[in-house]
Amino acid sequence: MSQDDARPDEVATALRQILPADCVLAREEELRPYECDGLSVFRQRPMLVVLPRTEEEVRQILMTCRRMSVPVVARGAGTGLSGGSTPHAAGVLLSLARLNQILELDPVARIARLQPGVRNLKVSEAAAPHGLYYAPDPSSQIACSIGGNVAENSGGVHCLKYGLTVHNVLGVRGFTMEGELIELGGRAPDHSGLDLLALAIGSEGLLMVVTEVIVKLIPRPQLARVVMASFSDVCDAGNAVANIIAAGIIPAGLEMMDRKATAAVEPFVKAGYDLSAEAILLAESDGTPEEVAEQIAAIEDVVREAGATALVCSNSESERLRFWSGRKNAFPAAGRVSPDYYCMDGTIPRKNLGPMLKAIEDMEKRYSLRCMNVFHAGDGNLHPLILFDANTPGEWERADKFGAEILELCVRLGGTITGEHGVGIEKINSMCVQFSAAERALFFAVKSAFDPQGLLNPGKAIPTLARCAEYGKMHVHAGALPHADIPRF
């Protein structure tokens, strides 16, 4: 038996000493379901999977892996879209799915204390009897876990008004790779020292393993209504978005879909979208009935002024949900019209929405692939869905390059390569475009402060110098890579 074969057995034996037998998976057929997360083009079988049931078991696992120098990749529900929890071939995949209890829900203090495996939607369901909810609502909220949301700093369709995960999490508790229990943030609003909570949120499992999350619950608005506007030109729709904000309105949600996206979802969900429109805009207002009436009237004025060709406002909760159903089902719809799709996540200043869409149109021709576009327009967060067929040779490679080009353009237009899905393994090369060598070195320095041995989710989120050098060589778009000395944001 070679040393490589001996290793998994050795690690499995050590882990079985601290965990019951059913908490350690080692057989090939048991490992297969963990090969990938929501980004299935990247697959890797882990050496082992562990399924702890308690915080103490998590600590023991980390201590054991540290002692044996085994990489650890934490995983929540596995819905992530950037390959952030793609397993490590020689590592342990740490599933937090069994830590799925709501430990406390205090309606007076308006907080919930959760284990990381609690599903996002379950929090709002549990808070609903008290007239409260948890604001961040990623499209995957039925399935995604709160621990995963913390790792990715997840967003949703209501971020513009209610913020991202980082604005709605009060504290986390968990372990460093050294097995030290740390509590960052907490029930009180302010804390001594550096804001390590902000650093931990969105750290993609590179800094610590979270075992408890305290979230803020907010009162559910009395009423929500959504305006649906049609535009014959995507640039007009983009301008309408900017004008709504300029008019001093912060809608609860502000979403845009292009014609290809509405055409794909409409037969599927029958949301009532205007299929003759080049783009449709969904603008939601929530609050008291008086407030909503006022804001809806203001939104309608702005949208009409911006050249909307048609305008409908939801008149009931079921109609509101129907208007949203198309947007929320855009990803599954893409999966229906194409064997595979590749979802991008760049963010750009809102004013550049129009030029960005035109550029994507041009890329569709060059790469001979279709792309449908859905946006969190209010915060400039784009989700172009590149349609391809993985079984057709060369299509995935073209889709990959198409995506990378979109991300480079996002950076050049003053934005970022990822608004809410994270870098993971997917966008690691694009990090070379957004950050200089010195900036990436600082990220590694932060990583080493928390995890000196580099065992937590290695190879994700931050590219090494060597990797960027290689990417630069194979991927030079004439003049596309920005100079280090000009401001890139």
């Binding site: 008290h130 700093n153 513009l160 509590e183 029930r187 200043p349 934005g415 989120a461």
Partner: protein, 359 residues
């Protein structure tokens, strides 16, 4: 970048490089409105001051993109005036301490005013920052867009870091439209009842933007559309406070012009907002809907009492106790602080000892 700013930035870089090479500490300073804030390491020679006011100016402001980017030395007044022209503001209401702070100082201190629990804290509005590191390099984190999860959130880490990690030369902040209407209502009630009421109201969809208590009177600020404020007043009752008195009250909390702050010793307790009145002999000034409690007290066990309710106590003014001015960190968290400091600032040139002794 204009020529003057470019030259100023180069000068700052040179000063930092020299300090790093000679291992000579720098005290980063804007207008000095918060000179009193933080630890004051006694047994060290007074470090050389790095005056950041010359690196000034709004770099970019686009009202419809809801952000502003400014150099660290830009006076807060200049930023607020630019925003006011477009009916926008910094919703975290940074305290001015009756002076004219720079935006760099505002973010490095990371303090927030009465709107903090309702609109968010300073750190919630940070979109991006530029860091002049100990090598004199310029590093950029975050950006000008609302959603950005590429890389660790270093810009938010810098907020409230008291300059111990480097010089934040530029910052981008989210701005918001000013509420159309603001009204303050008052209720005569004891502290316990006020805290209970604040929490009850916070659990309802009401447009609250401030809730404080002092000397038997609770005051609640409502902000939003005229109709929303009217509906909330109908529901909550209370007496309307006239505009100038309301403004004076919220300003006294935000800028510390309230008489309580004239005391020699002032403690700042950050606690869960539902915490009942604490076991201290003096009456607090309550802000943040119960989550921030100011005490002018010499009571010896303030820190223990704060810990017992899962809060923290900061010795705001006066001689700090043996544990230091800030509430002590959990040991494992203190280790992370030390390691981060070593990595950001290996020669310890940036504001040594300002946050934690020895860092």
């Amino acid at each position: 970048m204009d020529i003057t700013s470019h030259a100023t930035l180069n000068e700052l870089r040179e000063r930092v490089r020299t300090a790093h090479a000679n291992r000579k500490p720098l005290r980063l300073r804007g207008s000095g409105t918060k000179d009193f804030y933080g630890e004051d390491p006694p047994d060290q020679p007074e470090p050389e001051v790095l005056d950041l006011r010359p690196y000034t100016g709004i770099v970019d402001y686009e009202p419809s993109e809801l952000f502003i980017t400014a150099r660290c030395g830009t006076p807060l007044k200049e930023i607020e005036a630019a925003l006011a022209q477009h009916h926008q503001f910094l919703a975290f209401e940074p305290p001015t301490f009756d002076g004219d702070p720079t935006i760099g100082g505002v973010i490095a201190a990371g303090l927030s005013g009465p709107r903090r629990m309702y609109a968010g804290a300073a750190r919630d509005f940070v979109l991006g920052a530029t860091l002049l590191d100990s090598q004199g390099e310029i590093l950029r984190f975050g950006g000008q867009v609302m959603k950005n999860v590429a890389g660790f959130d270093v810009s938010r880490l810098l907020c409230g870091s008291l300059g111990i990690l480097g010089v934040m030369t530029e910052v981008s902040l989210k701005v918001l439209p000013k509420p159309r209407v603001e009204q303050t209502i008052r209720f005569a009630m004891p502290a316990q009842q006020a805290v209970e009421a604040f929490n009850r109201w916070s659990g309802q969809p009401l447009p609250i933007s401030g809730a404080g208590w002092w000397n038997g009177v609770a005051r609640v600020r409502l902000s939003g559309s005229a109709s929303a404020v009217r509906a909330a007043r109908d529901r909550m009752g209370g007496d309307l406070v006239n505009y100038s008195m309301a403004d004076e009250w919220w300003t006294s909390l935000r800028n510390h012009t309230h008489p309580l702050f004239r005391n020699d010793t002032v403690w700042r307790l950050s606690v869960p907002d539902t915490t009942p009145p604490l076991d201290l002999p003096d009456e607090p000034l309550i802000d943040w809907g119960g989550a921030l409690r100011w005490y002018a007290t010499d009571a010896p066990d303030v820190r223990r009492i704060a810990s017992s309710v899962r809060g923290s106590a900061l010795c705001w003014r006066g001689t700090p106790p043996a544990g230091g001015r800030f509430h002590p960190l959990q040991p494992a968290v203190a280790v992370l602080h030390r390691r981060l400091k070593e990595r950001f600032d290996p020669h310890g040139i940036f504001n040594p000892g300002r946050m934690i002794a020895g860092l």
